[in-house]
């Protein structure tokens, strides 16, 4: 009861020190990670003569919005962003549709061929794109699926489903068996536990999978460039590529494009990310 005060104080100073160290580490990581982004931003907004001097200034020495002006003046940026958002959203939906039953089967059910299926999914990730792209095109041509954004989203879905099945499987694995068994005894069947027990509990996993699918689709270029030839259906990554022309690569416009095109996915992540955090879902995660 009458605990000496000194150790407690020492403990709290140690705690404070640990907190401080942790905060410092977070700061350092943020600075290191953000620096290239900062550099991209800086180079896109200051006159190019500063970026092409030595030593290059670490803070903007002047503003020049020409790169953004050219980008928005010459190119249908908004249209590209909308198209990419559509394709990425379709990919997220498609991924969830395919991946939830697959992850459930992989994690919670016992069946012959389960590990073989898991392995097969991993093998699909070992896909040498340069070799696969021509067969995919010929397949899509035979279906009449070229210049079709939904079909492109389906392909993006196929790219991320195996990866997402594995990620979601580990989320399913963490659901306490007792909760599921209790529900089964209560009369819920093997299909019923999926929406009523599993899905609320693996929400962080579902969010992670959605983010992965969104980002993968957002950045995909090679297959989009092969399957989408109609300029009116260009996604953001295809649009950016049109900036690079013969004999010229407009560096600063491309950097401006990098800034512009990363805003939407980051906003998407910001909106959705708090669901990954334990604080908001702790109750349900722990059942």
């Amino acid at each position: 009861m009458s605990q000496p005060a000194a150790p407690r104080r020492r403990r709290s100073t140690a705690l404070k020190l640990a907190t401080l160290l942790r905060a410092a580490a977070i700061l350092v990581v943020c600075v290191v990670v953000f620096f290239p982004v900062y550099w991209m931003l800086l180079s896109s907004i200051q006159p190019s003569s500063y970026s092409l001097s030595f030593p290059p200034p670490l803070l903007p020495k002047g503003f020049n919005w020409e790169a953004y002006g050219q980008l928005f003046g010459d190119k249908p940026i908004a249209q590209w962003l909308v198209t990419s958002t559509i394709v990425a959203t379709l990919t997220v939906i498609g991924t969830l549709v395919f991946v939830i039953p697959a992850a459930y089967a992989l994690s919670a059910l016992r069946w012959t061929g389960r590990s073989a299926f898991g392995l097969l999914l991993l093998f699909t990730q070992i896909m040498p794109a340069a070799i696969v792209v021509a067969p995919v095109l010929s397949l899509y041509r035979s279906f009449g699926w070229t210049n079709n954004l939904a079909a492109l989203a389906l392909l993006h879905t196929a790219f991320v489903v195996p990866l997402c099945a594995w990620v979601l499987k580990s989320a399913f694995d963490a659901v306490p068996k007792e909760v599921v068994e209790a529900a089964l005894i209560d009369g819920c069947n093997r299909l019923g536990v999926l929406p009523y027990i599993y899905l609320p509990l693996v929400r962080p996993g579902l969010v992670a999978v959605s983010v992965i699918a969104f980002f993968a689709s957002w950045g995909e270029f090679l297959f989009a460039s092969t399957l989408i030839i109609d300029n009116g259906l260009y996604t953001a990554s295809l649009g950016i590529a049109t900036l690079m022309t013969q004999l010229d690569t407009p560096l600063f416009e491309l950097m401006a494009a990098g800034v512009v095109f990363s805003v939407l996915p980051v906003v998407f992540y910001m909106v959705i990310q708090r669901h990954v955090l334990r604080g908001l879902t702790a109750g349900s995660v722990k059942g």
Partner: protein, 303 residues
């Protein structure tokens, strides 16, 4: 709940019940994903691999393979691929784990911080590559400005023109661009480690490091193993960043599998030869994946 489940899932109770409880149920669940992958990924992989048996004149055989194994450039390329892949794999997992551990901590402003740490993932490859090329520029680059702050560096480095530094540079960029994905997955795994285990470890007198070693690591072991395999696979396939930053140079120091395949197929128009490269790359990654599964199953059998 039972009624709701029935309403969701089906019309005729007996038929549905036998389906859900029967042996076919798991197969029905995986069927859509399996069909999708078989059609859009596996079939094209097989078709693409067959190209490697065609030397270009329509006669099928293993000419491309014998040519490849006799080609010293091929073996050099494999060594570069191994250096790059293993380095990226190890570094990206360490960085991602460190970041995930930091982010798994409740602190004010964590939402903003976590968003900042996701930005590299969100920027398209092309602007990322161009920004880093500018930063590495021997004459104007900011990395030289920063390096020159170190007392023992008194002249500008030509980062991308030196074979060793260029390899380090592409590894750095790959890690920077790729770690948010691994952090995200690791973070999700960290959330699943039950608090009670930490409490128990604390009661047993384990410090921060002890908790990490005895609670955290075992709890996320499977995820780390999975990510290690994925990092291996993805880095053997890394093309855009390497192609735009070094083009596989200087000399051939950063020519790894994916740029080599691309070059053979689309620059040199040797589709069959590129196919042979791709098949070898596929086999290497497949062996790595099998090793992962074996190790994982052995670990799972341990108490």
């Amino acid at each position: 709940m039972q009624q709701a489940a029935i309403m969701v899932a089906g019309v005729r109770r007996p038929a549905r019940r036998s389906l859900v409880d029967g042996k076919a149920f798991p197969y029905l669940l995986i069927l859509p994903a399996l069909a999708l992958e078989a059609l859009l990924i596996l079939y094209p992989i097989v078709r693409g691999s067959l190209v490697s048996l065609d030397p270009g004149d329509g006669t099928y055989g293993f000419d491309n393979y014998s040519l490849m194994f006799a080609d010293p450039d091929f073996w050099r390329m494999l060594m570069h691929t191994l250096t790059y892949t293993v380095s990226v794999d190890v570094i990206i997992l360490i960085v991602a784990l460190a970041v995930a551990l930091l982010m798994n901590w409740d602190f004010p402003g964590r939402g903003a911080v976590r968003s900042i740490l996701t930005v590299p993932w969100a920027i398209p490859d092309v602007p990322v590559a161009i920004t880093f090329v500018m930063m590495f520029d021997p004459t104007f680059g900011v990395f030289n400005r920063l390096a020159r702050m170190l007392p023992w560096i008194d002249h500008n480095q030509s980062w991308l023109l030196d074979p060793n530094l260029a390899m380090a540079a592409v590894i750095l960029v790959t890690v920077w661009k790729g770690f948010p994905f691994y952090s995200l997955v690791l973070l999700a795994a960290l959330q699943n480690v039950p608090d009670e285990l930490y409490d128990a470890a604390r009661v047993d007198g384990a410090g921060v490091f002890g908790q990490f070693l005895h609670v955290t690591l075992p709890g996320i072991r499977d995820t780390i193993a999975l990510l290690a395999v994925l990092a291996f696979i993805f880095s053997t396939q890394q093309f855009t960043l390497i192609w735009l930053i070094t083009g596989g140079g200087p000399v051939d120091a950063t020519t790894t599998l994916a740029p080599a395949i691309y070059m053979q197929a689309f620059r040199f128009f040797n589709f069959g030869y590129a196919g042979a490269f791709a098949v070898i790359g596929f086999l290497i990654s497949a062996v790595a994946t099998l090793a992962f599964v074996v190790v994982q199953q052995r670990l799972a059998r341990e108490p």
